[in-house]
């Protein structure tokens, strides 16, 4: 339904490129006390700027927090970006922050927390695909049509009149072109128009904020030239769910120690000579974390899928895959030689009817029964933000006896009250799933991936997966980051603890009954399981900081999701998902959205995705809130979206609408009411 509100003019202040965020923040302060403290904060900041050496003499109001790292100061920041570098609500003397505000935001307000947990009293939150009004749909198709038409015209005339530019697309000296005209059409003519919005090079820690390298183009985006300038921007794009991407802090110290002790590589494959003690202990830790018997670690997240799936299924087996599964799963399935079938995204009835069909029909032509059927789904889908309907799948698994492989690349660490992924979120014993795969890139601020399962399964994969004998082992510093961040989520207990009590690996009965509540602390890690040299600070070791991170992430995700909905945007995905896709539809609006968000004060970097990651018609911006963001940061994003979305006419969602101030003021209510 086209909404009349959508065509309203945007905010009264049209000069969005020059707006002083600080001023607006000051005027919008709710109470006199906060106004005063903000003024005081501004004063201290100006004073500290006069003092050229910020690091040596931290000003009083920030004294409890640790000092900024040196490279923050080399970046010449003007006043406009100060709200990124310093907290707007200054910390009091009893609040101690151990993080750098630009990497991990300071937020002491305990009401800005939430617990991510599935409520079994309510039905599963099905993905609702909200359609845009009719004219948007039409405009999207027309603009795609014009884009391709112009592209073909440019190709037609270019090939005749500007041959040098097309040389690489035409046969020359007996070589066929590397890339045909048709194959590269999308890249050159559609994607090419927005290269300045893609593959943006950055520097520094991809934490709460990120420093982007400024670029410009003199040849219509064919090439991008770095100016040498840098801009600090609010980072709502990196997969930094729990905010462990930090240059300072306990995890970083652990990594430092590991570099000093173990170097940067183990010089070989896992099966030949690249296995070290650290690998073994990290794998044990991962197994304990996800609640499986054993786990293996691979040096690349993509390769975890693409090199281990072939070891699970082969000729005579069937892989059933969700239509929106990640490319790595598709490539793994293709390499395996197994038959592959696809079901509709997260649609359990489609899965069930497919299962009934394939099991009754057997293998094509021969009708022999399948050796095995492996269903591969993701825990949290990276472009949609949907959470898999796990309770239903596990129920189907009981009936249809398939094997279940869950890719938790995005959900591990980010979902569930204890950050253990979808099984934790739905409170389903991990042992009812055959293979749990995940990556360390996202929640743990590291790299690589893992596969967890029974000991037989993991040992089999160690020997028969491609990575074992052929791919380099994961590097020790990366392992140290994984161990430190994971142990801090689990919490470290000094006394060794019987292993079998923490996780029940008992076979699952025919009916799935969610565990009522977790009585014992879920999988604390005994100190002797960690490397002896790894000394985590108290807040990390007792798990309190990580608990705070998990709850902050849940709050931020839910707030951003609900806030954008209340502002009138079309949002996909689950309300607890740390992936919040905002639907833009019209391809022409994508680059404008990125540029306007980047020109906002403070600058915000966003990811926009379209074909091939999504369909052409459902182009979208994708936000990834993180535990590192403060409530004020999410406010900033909402304000920016409100303003930019108004100008670009993106607000087409149905349902009740709130004004931006109302959303910001009633954030807590909003989060708990959804």
């Amino acid at each position: 339904m086209p909404s009349p509100i959508a065509l309203n003019s945007p905010s009264p202040s049209l000069s969005i490129f020059k707006k002083k965020e600080l001023l607006s923040q000051l005027t919008s302060m709710p109470t006199a006390a906060s106004y005063l403290s903000a003024v005081q904060q501004a004063d201290t900041r100006i004073r500290s700027h006069d003092n050229s050496s910020v690091t040596s003499t931290p000003s009083l109001s920030r004294s409890p927090s640790i000092t900024d790292s040196s490279e923050d100061n080399t970046l010449s920041e003007d006043d406009e970006n100060d709200c990124l570098a310093y907290s707007l609500t200054p910390s009091t003397s009893e609040q101690v922050f151990t993080t750098v505000h630009t990497e991990f935001g300071h937020c002491a307000n305990e009401t800005y927390r939430c617990v991510s947990k599935h409520d079994y009293t309510k039905p599963f939150e099905e993905q609702t695909i909200e359609d845009p009004p009719y004219y948007i749909f039409l405009a999207t198709h027309i603009s795609l049509f014009i884009l391709s038409l112009l592209g073909h015209m440019r190709d037609f005339f270019g090939k005749r009149f500007a041959k040098p530019y097309f040389a690489h697309l035409m046969p020359q000296n007996g070589y066929a072109p590397l890339n045909t005209n048709f194959d590269s059409f999308y890249t050159r003519r559609l994607r090419g128009r927005m290269t300045d919005c893609l593959c943006q090079p950055v520097t520094g820690v991809p934490g709460r904020t990120i420093v982007i390298l400024d670029r410009y183009s003199t040849d219509n985006n064919y090439t991008q030239i770095c100016t040498g300038g840098k801009t600090r921007a609010l980072n709502i794009s990196s997969y930094n769910y729990l905010g462990f991407s930090q240059g300072r802090g306990g995890c970083s110290d652990a990594v430092k120690e590991s570099i000093r002790r173990c170097g940067v590589s183990t010089f070989g494959t896992r099966l030949e000579s690249g296995s070290s003690e650290l690998h073994v202990s990290a794998e044990a830790l991962v197994a304990r974390f996800v609640g499986m018997e054993d786990a293996l670690i691979c040096s690349m997240g993509f390769a975890t899928n693409s090199t281990f799936i072939p070891a699970l299924a082969g000729k005579g087996s069937l892989i059933i895959s969700d239509e929106l599964n990640h490319a790595s799963i598709r490539i793994g399935a293709r390499q395996s030689g197994a038959h592959v079938r696809v079901f509709k995204h997260n649609d359990m009835s489609s899965l069930e009817s497919l299962l009934r069909e394939v099991i009754s029909q057997g293998q094509p032509k021969t009708h022999r029964p399948w050796k095995k059927v492996l269903v591969i789904v993701e825990g949290l889908y990276s472009m949609e933000g949907t959470v898999v309907n796990l309770p239903k799948i596990v129920e189907l698994k009981q009936i249809y006896k398939f094997h279940l492989y869950i890719d938790e690349a995005h959900s591990i660490g980010a979902l569930g009250p204890h950050g253990r992924g979808v099984t934790d979120y739905f409170n389903i014993p991990p042992s009812s799933i055959d293979v749990l795969m995940g990556t360390f890139t996202k929640s743990f601020g590291a790299a690589g991936g893992y596969i967890a399962g029974t000991k037989t399964l993991v040992d089999g994969l160690r020997l028969r997966g491609h990575s074992g004998p052929y791919a380099e082992a994961i590097a020790p510093p990366v392992l140290a980051q994984i161990v430190a961040s994971m142990a801090s989520i689990m919490g470290v207990v000094s006394a060794p603890q019987p292993t079998n009590s923490t996780f029940s690996l008992s076979p699952v009965g025919s009916i799935i009954t969610p565990r009522d509540s977790v009585k014992e602390p879920l999988g604390m890690v005994p100190a002797n399981n960690l490397p002896t040299w790894m000394n985590l600070p108290r807040a990390l070791a007792d798990g309190s900081e990580a608990r705070m991170r998990i709850r902050r992430l849940a709050f931020n995700s839910r707030y951003l999701h609900a806030g954008l909905k209340k502002l009138g945007f079309i949002i996909y995905g689950h309300s607890f998902s740390p992936i919040v896709p905002l639907l833009i539809f019209n391809p022409g609006k994508l680059p404008v959205f990125v540029r306007m968000m980047r020109a906002y004060t403070p600058p915000i970097v966003v990811v926009v995705v379209t074909y091939p990651a999504t369909s052409f018609e459902t182009a979208r911006a994708r936000f990834c809130p993180s535990a590192a963001h403060t409530k004020e940061d999410i406010d900033t994003v909402l304000r920016a979206c409100d303003e930019v979305g108004g100008i670009l006419d993106l607000k087409h969602g149905s349902g009740e609408r709130w004004g931006i101030d109302m959303v910001c003021d009633r954030a807590v209510e909003l989060v708990h009411s959804v």
Binding site: N173, Y175, C199, V205, F244, S265, F267, S360
Partner: protein, 517 residues
């Protein structure tokens, strides 16, 4: 999967069909459309055939839209209709195999014998199982950069500034300036226009090949290429012709026959690629690069060469075979190397012209869909290049050590040394009647040979020298190769240490083989 053409055309078809119907219904909402509609109606009266044609078009469009990809099998002639009850019974009766077969006794032994290193790996690591310090002849520490203080220092600095993970794929704010720096360093080092960084060595070439080679293209590849290349070729779906291992005569014959075929079929000009390795991972043979480049130019093929072993080890400063043979690296269209092996860090790269590299930034699946490598591993790679540039003597040491190892082992009874004499990896297998590396007979007993080799490895580890068998996925490789033990030479050891270690290996070989006789 369905045929890829229909998959590729589907978005286009559905898009066209969709927009057609959209335009039509949108049209009626435009003021004045009624006039046009009236005109259509009258035209229908004049020529009903046209309306029928249009109607058929619309029906076809709707059918295309509604047709689900997953339903195509249902209409096939092999589809059997069952009642719901029959399906329930079939489901009940079906007994699937376990997901993974338990390990056999030999596999378990194989897994248990994998050495685990306590503390840092390097020329003299400590083994976790025994607590003994051993001399390392197994790890890829060719240039001896393990434990290098400068590399560590650089890594620590980077950590402070960048944190560890990149938290995103290159397209989504995961391209850090240090990645660009390393890419530029590699390109400058090799003398190519540009290079692109992948986050795992193994996944590099298996992603590079399908980025360029598509269905209908021709790949001419060495029969004995490594596993990653085999997987890349498989994914590419191109037409493959194989030539005999490291035999350029056979390559030329193949090239000629391909050309003949094309002329006979009068086929269009397709992309053609030669895929081979610089130094073969499986046996340490070295390719004759000048001859290869000559053939490639003569027959107008593009060359994809995997230098995973030779980059960082061969040539005066480790630029690889191009430096050794003095061939400009720009002659190799896609030069793939390993940062993990050659630069003692992690990841891999592909160097080539700017067009080749840019193409991969959008089409290299494991580049696009995977997180970029941690910043500190990238700077470690850059630091390694600086070290290689500044200390060419390191690689002279490496060559000395290679010669020393070969000298000792050549005189050993019962084994055959494989590969080129300058190769930093030295394979040896048991000397039997069969001398060819590839084994085709089904009667051949791999496992027995592997057991003997494993005994040699275990014995030499017990005597203080870390060795490893070259591990392969048996049954999954295109060609089963003879089981071998692979020694990796390192510049970090002195000549004396190397000779001593090789002596231990020799003694182990003699001991185990004499026990068996």
């Amino acid at each position: 999967m369905d045929s890829s053409t229909s998959v590729a055309l589907e978005p286009l078809l559905s898009f066209l069909a969709f927009s057609l119907s959209q335009i039509e219904s949108g049209f009626y909402r435009i003021p004045g459309s009624a006039v046009v509609a009236r005109y259509v109606k009258s035209s229908h009266q004049n020529d009903p055939g046209r309306t029928i044609l249009e109607l058929i078009l619309v029906i076809f469009a709707i059918r295309t839209l509604l047709q689900s990809r997953t339903r195509t099998d249902r209409s096939g002639k092999h589809f059997i209709r069952f009642s719901e009850k029959e399906i329930d019974e079939l489901v009940d009766e079906w007994v699937p195999e376990p997901l993974v077969q338990p390990l056999s006794e030999w596999e378990q032994k194989d897994l248990n014998s994998v050495p685990v290193i306590a503390g840092p790996n390097g020329p003299k690591p400590k083994l976790l199982a025994t607590g003994k310090i051993v001399t390392n002849l197994a790890s890829f520490n060719f240039a001896g950069l393990a434990g290098n203080e400068k590399v560590k220092e650089r890594a620590l600095e980077t950590l402070q500034k960048y944190g560890l993970g990149s938290c995103g794929p290159p397209g989504f704010y995961g391209t850090i300036d240090v990645h660009l720096d390393l890419e530029r360093d590699i390109a400058e080092f090799l003398g190519t226009e540009a290079s692109i960084l992948y986050s795992q060595g193994f996944s590099t070439i298996s992603s590079v090949i399908p980025a360029f080679c598509k269905r209908g293209d021709i790949i001419v590849a060495d029969r004995s290429v490594n596993f990653a290349i085999q997987k890349g070729i498989l994914i590419s779906r191109s037409t493959v012709r194989w030539f005999d291992h490291n035999d350029l005569k056979s390559l030329e014959d193949t090239l000629i026959s391909v050309e003949k075929d094309r002329k006979k079929r009068k086929g269009p000009l397709t992309r053609r690629f030669i895929i081979t390795e610089g130094i073969f991972e499986r046996d340490g043979e070295m390719v004759d690069l000048p001859k290869l480049v000559e053939l490639k130019l003569k027959y107008k093929y593009r060359l994809i060469m995997d230098e995973s072993i030779s980059f960082g080890t061969m040539g005066r400063t480790g630029r690889g075979l191009t430096e050794l043979y003095n061939v400009p690296a720009s002659q190799i269209d896609m030069l793939v190397g390993s940062v993990a092996n050659g630069l003692c860090s992690a990841g891999g790269f592909c160097a080539g012209s700017a067009i080749v590299v840019d193409h991969q930034r959008i089409n290299g699946t494991s580049f696009v869909f995977s997180a970029s490598m941690p910043a500190l591993l990238a700077t470690s790679g850059s630091e390694a290049i600086t070290l290689l540039r500044n200390n060419p003597s390191v690689l002279l040491n490496l060559q000395d050590n290679i010669r020393a190892i070969r000298a000792v082992l050549e005189k050993t009874e019962g084994i055959t040394l494989l590969g080129h004499r300058a190769s930093p990896i030295i394979h040896f297998c048991l000397r039997t009647q069969q001398q060819s590396l590839s084994v085709t007979q089904s009667t051949y007993d791999h496992e027995a040979e592997e057991r003997i080799l494993q005994d040699i490895v275990d014995d030499s580890v017990a005597n203080g020298v870390l060795l490893t068998r070259a591990k392969h996925l048996r049954g999954q490789e295109m060609i089963e190769s003879r089981p071998t033990i692979r020694i990796a030479a390192s510049a970090a050891l002195t000549r004396k240490e190397v000779e001593k270690a090789a002596g231990v290996v020799k003694a182990s070989v003699t001991r185990i083989l004499s026990k068996r006789r």
